[in-house]
Amino acid sequence: MKKLISIASVMLCAQVSMAQVYISLPYERMGWTPEEAAAHFLNRFAYGPKVGQIEKLAPDLENWVSQQIYSEHKETDFISNLNENYPALLLGMEEIGQTYPAPGVRLLFMGMHRDQNNKSKRPNFAQRGNQRMGQGMNRLDSTAGNRQEELYKRVVNGEKNTNQRYAMFQQFSERRFGWLDFEDLLYQTMAQKLERAIYSENQLEEIMVDFWFNHFNVSLHGVNDIATHVLSYERDVIRPHALGNFRDLLGATAKHPAMLRYLDNNRSNAEEDRKTLVEASPNQTAFMNRQLEKNPVFKQFAQQPGVNENYPRELMELHTLGVDGCYDQKDVEEVARAFTGWKVSPWIYPIPENLKRQLESSIPKNTSRHIQEGFLFDPTRHDAEPKVILGSTFPEGGGVEEGELILDQLAEHPNTASFISEKLAIKFVSDNPPSSLVEKMAATFLESEGDIKSVLITMMESEEFWNKEHYAQKIKTPVELVASTIRAVNGSVTNYRPLIKWCNEMGQPLYAYQAPTGYPETSEFWVNGSALLNRMNFGTGIAVGLNQAVNVDLEALNNNRMPESEKEALEVYLQLLLPERNTKETYDILLPILSDPTFNNKINMESRNPSSASQNTLEQVVGLIIGSPEFQRQ
């Protein structure tokens, strides 16, 4: 049955109506009931079903799918709430860098700000910065710069920094420089992710944001270099293009400070013997050399001649073409030359006014220079000699457009289409997706010039997607488990810190997979080590509200009716928490244990009053269901 979806939105929103498509989901033909199909969608394209949601969506699943693909929910109240809870969301990318500098950056720039007020002396920024860095360290010692690892550990465990000296340092930085708490920025970054995953109506957008972030991974392990920019990276780079065009997404990642720092392109410069697009002025070079000589500490920050191949290699291997190369080391080297001079803009730092003027004048005034939202193209560092890349010749004198041309070329390459399609199919269909499906998706990718919506629709409309073998076979990631649990029990989160900690303990520290591959999409990864034990413990923990971090009213899920026996509790809550699933195995295994009289006696002995006994039993049943193998699957 073909059906024009989302008629209401056509009338409401002209922009959406432009892109109207027919979506036809062949689930009935493939032997699915509408309810099963809705459950499958809510598990794969959303963070799990809420109580009653399947019944609501099943009669008009195509309409829901369309709303999700076009992120139609405006969610004005939800967004304004988010902005209130996480004020960094309202700051521009450069403003975030200037407002929430990392500890190392803070110490460095403190000295420079001091000099601004010291008009009597000709400032020697390098020396003063270094001195201040040292003095700052003296005062702070273990609270700031020296202990990146402890900061990292606190942050991924959702812990607040309760150190007195840290609080004093923070108060001082805020009073004197207007700098806000860096660790709070990282908390906001993580908490907003979980809040959106659980409560946003545009669930597919959240899933896709998670997918693409992981595909173009950066990590807040790099506390001083990267962490500050992660919030903006997700909000300004990933989110706007998550359901948009692949080339736009690729281009946005390439120019964002988080990626430029994470894969080191920021330090990629033309080799010493190469001709650059614009000659660095001898005065500037001499100035830099003098500063470096006076103060070698800045050598680690200074730009040195020499190409860095990290970004170009990952750009091809991980972001676009995939590992089974249609390129070789020579291509990596040539691409790397094309990306020399792609750097972070200095305006992402809290630079004092006088230094700002000096820096501004040091960036050559030339039409080939680009500076925009965190990105700087420095023509004095760009290798302008001819290049041959993937078969195309780039003549002498090319500038920033060389990188753009390479991104074009990579985005429209058939290998990229296959590589991205396969990864999407692994995420949404199966750990081993059928190649016929990947081929269809790749064909759409090429035809639509990388339109992500179209690729997803091809996948959803395929018979392969609706092969029943795939039903409930993927293992949830820890984030998916946390979000789907809270949605299933209709919980209201009052404190995200324990949830952040659980994500880490179950093996997914938020925004902190260190390798550029991102987390693997396949199931094996998520059941390694102590992950499953922690999933069980998360289940029993959440059933009792994680020490009041989450308000859960289990009785309310069942229309305020307390089940009268273990058997009834098990039957009712398996239905509620795992709708449209075959829960016979779970039921058959648990029932004899729950109704074992030895255990029952114990329950009654332990509880002080009868109503608490049944509440305890209910919490236990729900904990076992959430921690069960069945609930780990989606």
Binding site: N146, L263, P516, G541, P629
Partner: protein, 415 residues
């Protein structure tokens, strides 16, 4: 008296084998009964790796004695060869920082070796990048998906317990990323099914669910986790106390090493252990009595010394190796500290080690010998040490462990 052999016989212990570069393949439980004779207790070697994050100043730890160049470049940081708090001479050229005096008996007994001038061929001075390269074992290449200790685990190639590779850290370190099964647990007490709803049969419920589920992957991994708990309980690992007289520092590293000792003494099959010592980024007050370096140097040496005494009966099977991402500038900076440099030193402890020696090459510290005119140059590639330890202690092919590395390993083992 409990022995692992008895445990293996008496319970349905799950074993699994890992294959290099492949998916961990969990063996079905019955396979174990047959292969039991291959699992001789006490025959397994254990490698304990300690990452000193933040970059330890190798020259502050093991310093050339009375070096006039050093006096010029870092006069305030020098430890003198005479006086109350003097350098402990290791040989004619080098002295040990007295803060690390606990290392000295191990050194003089010939079990502890120092490798000086060691580091990465890639000259990045970013902690993040340099740690990444040291943990993947592929300097300069970011995309390596696995860490070298994980690859080493995969190459061990025999049946193992869930405790074959354990990291005592809050999250899985890069060095253990990869396909081979490993366990990350900061505190062994957390390895249990917690009971929060006040009822007694939760653990029994989970045990039944995971052991009986028909979903193979979850069942296999669930079995391993549940067996791990059982193994820990039956070996009474959590109640194994340190040897009389052994006192671990009350620090993260002290606690990690204490738990590693429990696993070794409990005989639960530990072969690769990883722990961290944090906070070596000493940009300031490096020689202050209670500064970052002093705290860390004392902690490191006392923790390792306590550990070594604690595992007295197992010393022949155990080796400890420290690593740090880079060294620090030879000259002191404006705040009596040092900045990011190149080479540092590493410590290797074990009865197989030809100890009591300072290995590596440290040229005279004149400016023309320094890298970029400021740093101790790297004269030994870290892979040279790591591959040698893997080959000689873990008995795996250390060269194969490091792609694109085919040089001889550093020779510091007894013949």
């Amino acid at each position: 008296m409990w022995t692992r052999r008895a445990f293996l016989k008496g319970s349905a212990m799950t074993a699994f084998a890992s294959t290099l570069g492949g998916v961990p393949s969990f063996l079905v439980r019955s396979a174990l009964a047959q292969s039991e004779k291959n699992l001789g207790i006490g025959k397994r070697k254990t490698l304990v790796c300690i990452f000193q994050r933040g970059a330890m100043d190798g020259l502050q730890a093991v310093q050339p004695i009375d070096d006039q160049n050093l006096l010029k470049l870092r006069g305030d940081l020098m430890v003198t060869a005479t006086g109350g708090n003097k350098l402990i001479a290791l040989d004619d050229r080098f002295g040990l920082n007295p803060l690390m005096k606990s290392f000295y008996p191990l050194f003089s007994e010939g079990r502890l070796a120092v490798v000086h001038g060691i580091g990465s061929p890639i000259s990045t001075r970013s902690h993040f990048d340099a740690q990444d390269y040291m943990e993947t074992g592929t300097p300069g290449i970011k995309s390596t998906s696995s860490g070298w200790l994980n690859r080493a685990t995969g190459m061990l190639g025999h049946e193992a317990t869930p405790f074959q590779a354990v990291s005592l850290t809050p999250s899985t370190p890069r060095i253990l990323y990869g396909d081979a099964y490993n366990l990350t647990i900061e505190n062994l007490d957390d390895l249990s099914i917690q009971n929060q709803s006040g009822t007694s049969n939760t653990a029994a419920g989970f045990e039944a669910l995971y052991r009986k589920t028909t979903q193979e992957l979850i069942q296999n991994s669930g079995n391993v986790s549940l067996d791990a708990i059982k193994l820990l309980e039956e070996a009474r690992v959590k109640s194994i106390n340190p040897q009389p007289g052994v006192r671990y520092p009350q620090t993260t590293l002290g606690s990690s090493l204490k738990q590693i000792a429990q696993l070794i003494k409990g005989g639960v099959g530990l072969e690769i252990a990883f722990a961290e010592s944090n906070g070596w980024d000493t940009h300031s007050r490096q020689s202050a009595p209670f500064g970052g370096f002093a705290r860390n140097a004392t902690d490191l040496s006392n923790s390792i010394f306590a550990f070594w005494q604690d595992i007295e009966k197992f010393q022949d099977e155990v080796m400890v190796m420290t690593m740090t991402e880079f060294g620090r500038t030879v000259h002191q900076n404006g705040s009596l500290g040092t900045d990011h440099g190149r080479a540092s030193c590493m410590f290797v402890l074990g009865n197989e080690v030809e100890g009591g020696k300072v290995y590596g090459k440290v040229s005279e510290l004149v400016p023309e010998n320094l890298e970029d005119g400021r740093d101790l140059p790297v004269t030994t590639d870290f892979r040279s040490l790591f591959s040698s330890v893997a080959t000689n202690h873990l008995r795996i092919n250390g060269q194969q462990l490091f792609p694109a590395w085919d040089e001889e390993g550093l020779s510091l083992f007894k013949a």
